[in-house]
Symmetry: C2
Subunit: 348 residues, 2 copies
DNA sequence: CAGCCGTACTAAAGCGCTTTAGGCTGCTTC
DNA sequence: GAAGCAGCCTAAAGCGCTTTAGTACGGCTG
């Protein structure tokens, strides 16, 4: 029962060749579906390989120009910020699903900031480690697309804006603008006129898109008590900002939070301050998760299929690796799930 | 501004050799700190390499027997279970910190179950992809240690019990038993006699350890209204079990939840049923996170430094890769942070 | 001054795979 | 009946690195 210490050598193509009585090249042809071997030989080689439990060495493959069979994903977030965030694991989970199918590995790294992230790309590229990368949290004035383009590393930007300037980059994006517009429309219909958007990290492309759209929608309707305030996504800042805006002379009647964590913290804070949700103030969370059904009132939230988002991104990347053209694909607009935290504005 | 399509060839040792006017082997010696070159040559080679931006190709390195400079981590959880869980990203974050220092990559994969996980290990091993792995969520009767031992793949088990049977495996573990004992002791001191433990996944080593300890502590004190109920860690099951136990004739006065998500769901459920926390029922969460301070009452929780846990594990693995002996190291016992959700038992 | 040794370096093989350039059959074609 | 041509297969080079074996040279010894 205690396992024996067997050195357990991995079989190589040479072993297969010997056992099958053919040359190594024949084995290579056979196993890769290339012409140059008869069907019966091919089958025999396949059987031997199978029986020996052979798997190609990625190192050797990579070295002979086939690529590393690996894609990279780096997360640039200060370590403590990535605590309670369902988004990433879900996304990764979706990504994996399609990568696993193709036997592609996922090299994962978390770093502090974007410059570090760029350094990682350079290193991965120089070390031949990855065939392509998935870029998350695109920013306004992002240096990463230029870098990846320069390195010739295929990439798909997740959540970016459509980008025609970079030939090797695909983009998978959600229509934040449309979602924001529909949320504002809904709140407006409920009588809300003073709306505060507790946004995420300033500089993130989607944050800025949401802010711009909110502003535009407000202007279009002649609303003046509308603003966006950026945060670091943490519950602490979410609570602090909530406290601040509710403490003002003319507090907002609706709050839009850029993630579920802040929304939760916001509701708790509002309640503490004596505001009743949704009677005094409506709350909507941008990002749905179990959290939203874990407090009363249940949070109305913008929901989207994050795993599917990941799957789509991974598909685009594999397409790129197969030599396909860069594309821009839009995933469905997040839908607003109305639960208990939104209601008519007081006095409307 | 639109990036130019430069093929951007990676420099190789041959390039360095040419520029420095020495042989490739000299370059190798110089760059790897091996004897056989003079100091001045070594320095010259280093400068040329630097200036060319050279980085060793991991593929080539791996092929010539140096290992893949990569460690693996696979997460065996049904995709939807890993939603709201701060634990993993934190752990990974800590792991990365020490891996990055040594320029080791982290190959990451999420799969459905343990058999799939084993298949991944076999594949990684056969494909020469990783030099070692980190194993999480050890189980009772776990097939993984035997497998890894057989493959000769260095590994550290995170959260396992000490294990002397496997020579290549290190273990990093937290003293769940001690923590459980202290929690029970605290609750007992507050007058609690009927305690229910809403546990995590049955079959996980630490789940079983906690359950065993709880039972032992109860017996020692002659308590009869004490039990553990296993769940899938989800808020849904947490809520369901809470509802069930509180609905009984003699409901418990204290609840111990194996994660923060279930604890939160539990508090919400209890409140809904008309139980006041902590007046009617005390709640403690096993695993502290921002969540615990996001609802009122704030949750008392067992807190530990998860990033540090990850760091420790990664250190052990690098030690193993350096040829060190397998070890068993214990991380600090989780500390109970008393917040608002625990109090004296009613009538005590 | 032959013989020896240590230092600084080079040549070449090998890791496991892909791929190009042949080689050898046996068949058609004029 | 010789040239041409498939079809099937092998030999060998090459990917970028490490490592072993070997060479050249200067200085030491006896």
């Amino acid at each position: 029962m205690p396992a024996k210490r067997s050195p357990a050598r991995r079989p190589t193509m040479k072993d297969i060749a010997r056992r099958a009585g053919v040359s190594e090249s024949a084995v290579s042809f056979a196993l890769n579906g290339r012409p140059g071997v008869s069907e019966v030989t091919r089958e025999r080689v396949r059987r031997v390989a199978e029986q020996l439990g052979w798997r190609p060495s990625t190192a050797a493959r990579a070295l002979s120009g086939e690529g590393a069979a690996t894609v990279g994903l780096v997360l640039a977030r200060p370590a403590d910020t990535l605590g309670v965030d369902s988004f990433f694991l879900q996304l990764v989970s979706g990504i994996q699903e399609v990568l696993a199918e193709r036997h592609l590995g996922l090299l994962f790294q978390v770093v502090e900031d974007v410059p570090d992230e760029c350094a990682v790309y350079r290193r991965w590229w120089a070390e031949h480690r990855v065939d392509g990368v998935l870029v998350v949290d695109p920013r306004t004035d992002d240096p990463r697309p230029d870098l990846l383009d320069e390195l010739g590393l295929p990439a798909v930007v997740i959540g970016g804006a459509p980008d025609e300037r970079h030939s090797g980059l695909s983009t998978v994006w959600a229509d934040d603008a449309g979602a924001m517009a529909s949320v504002v429309e809904g709140l407006y219909a409920l009588g809300h006129r003073r709306i505060v958007h507790i946004a995420g990290l300033s500089g993130l492309a989607h944050t800025e898109r949401r802010i711009r759209t909110l502003r535009a929608e407000a202007r279009r309707r002649g609303l003046t008590g509308v603003e966006s305030i950026t945060t670091d996504y943490s519950d602490a800042e979410g609570a602090a900002v909530t406290r601040r805006v509710l403490d003002s002379a003319a507090p907002p009647t609706a709050l839009i939070y850029d993630n579920d964590v802040m929304a939760l913290a916001g509701v708790a804070t509002a309640t503490e301050l004596g505001f009743s949700v949704p009677a005094d103030v409506s709350v909507v969370a941008w990002e749905d998760s179990a959290l939203c059904r874990m407090v009363r009132p249940w949070l109305s939230a913008l929901s989207r299929d994050t795993m599917e988002f990941g799957r789509t991104a991974a598909c685009e990347l594999t397409a790129l690796l197969d030599g396909g053209p860069a594309r821009t694909v839009r995933v469905p607009v997040p839908r607003l799930i109305e639960r208990e935290s939104t209601g008519a504005a007081r006095g409307a």
